[in-house]
Assembly symmetry: D2
Homo-oligomer: 140 residues x 4
């Protein structure tokens, strides 16, 4: 079974038992998995909020970053990758109880650097945030 | 009492009772407050980790973003500001129990846009991450 | 005649007589114009190169930034906008004589902030760079 | 003679004969060189302007990117590095004839990734732009 097969077997499951402690706290549900792209759904909880009572930019970024990191595994590469940087534009927000979805996509898979993008949307289709990230192969 | 006075009165206190639900979860302790700059200390907890067992980039970004947002309040402005974007470089990481510190700084305070930077360091002085963010005045 | 009409009348023309001195040096040719999106083609000249003899990242960014700035005008807004930030990922490069194309797109048009993205591709379809930028309304 | 010695021998010279064709067009003058940091001065020319008659964000980014790329050479490493990404905040601008100065600094020199920052200031000390960039080692 490849890593991608493993992801596909988890479609519909929550990340509550996943290998990422932060991912467990974010408590997403995998909705789709293909080579280089994942779709993960989250429900906005009260801990995720900023002082204005809307989804905190820090949590938005954590969702985007955690899913992009997981997406690398869907490629089934023999190496581990670490995030070099992330850049996020905040476009709108969400309220407690809203369902929000990250969709990630590998843009360029180089020998050393994987360039990725991800978007966070609300169930009504509104785009909440866009992210771009570079991940670098670790070790030899 | 100005907002800055209010921050100064909180030096040494945890954000466990603060107005940011995410900030309460991150559970920082305010160490210094001056106009346009805050210093906030965090203890790395198990929920903050990535699958490799080190501080997750998403939590790093959440710490940086939450402190930069709070820093705007230290300016005592009559308006509310929202994050337009954040850009983070990940340089190193931390382990459970490590004490890590965000230090934020307003770089340019314009009429509409506030440009800010922040750094996250470990107690041994190692730089873990650098962030830059722009915040925009909301409403009239 | 709206600004968009003016852009459309220029499709097929070079920017050699345009209002942006840098744009004149970059010497692009407008290939398509619609509300919130422009397509501009450039020919890689020897002045555009880095020490390795390929298209310099600084020129790539200048192309992306100049076209995104022009794209705001296609919206026909009564205000002037200035770039707040730009973030660029470099994915590949080009050689002298190559034809490269920027395609821009407004992602979110807010009251104060316009969020935009742009891509630079080579004639063979290879993606050379991706950019995201926020522009802010100037004055009252 | 090390690469750093070579840079130091060029302090006071213009980049008009340098190995970067774009750098020749930007026509900077090296003002200081130390391991991991360069200071380069530019005079704003009419070709560098945006439609508003001030220094174009694209040229600002080109100056920052070109100097950061050159700074890697000051480290005297046996490998070549390419820019992975650049992120720039635009804070103010300059007019034709103004002297503007880029000061670069290596923040973290890893085995694969070099993280760098640079600032552009005007002769009167005003900060015009801040950039951060990651460069990746090429080849084996």
């Amino acid at each position: 079974m490849t890593m991608l097969d493993a992801f596909r077997a988890l479609v519909g499951s929550s990340f509550a038992d996943g290998p990422s402690p932060l991912g467990r706290w974010l408590h997403g549900t995998l909705r789709a998995a293909n080579e280089g792209t994942l779709t993960v759904e989250f429900v906005v909880r009260s801990e995720f909020l900023n002082p204005a009572g809307t989804l905190h930019g820090g949590v938005i970024t954590a969702m985007l970053d955690d899913v992009m990191g997981a997406t690398v595994y869907s490629l089934g590469l023999p190496h581990v990758y670490a995030s070099v940087n992330i850049s996020v534009d905040f476009l709108s927000s969400a309220r407690p109880g809203d369902v929000v979805t990250v969709r990630s996509e590998v843009v360029r898979q180089g020998r050393t650097i994987i360039n990725m993008r991800a978007e966070l949307t609300r169930a009504d289709g509104r785009l909440l945030a866009r992210a771009t990230s570079n991940l670098c192969r670790i070790g030899e």
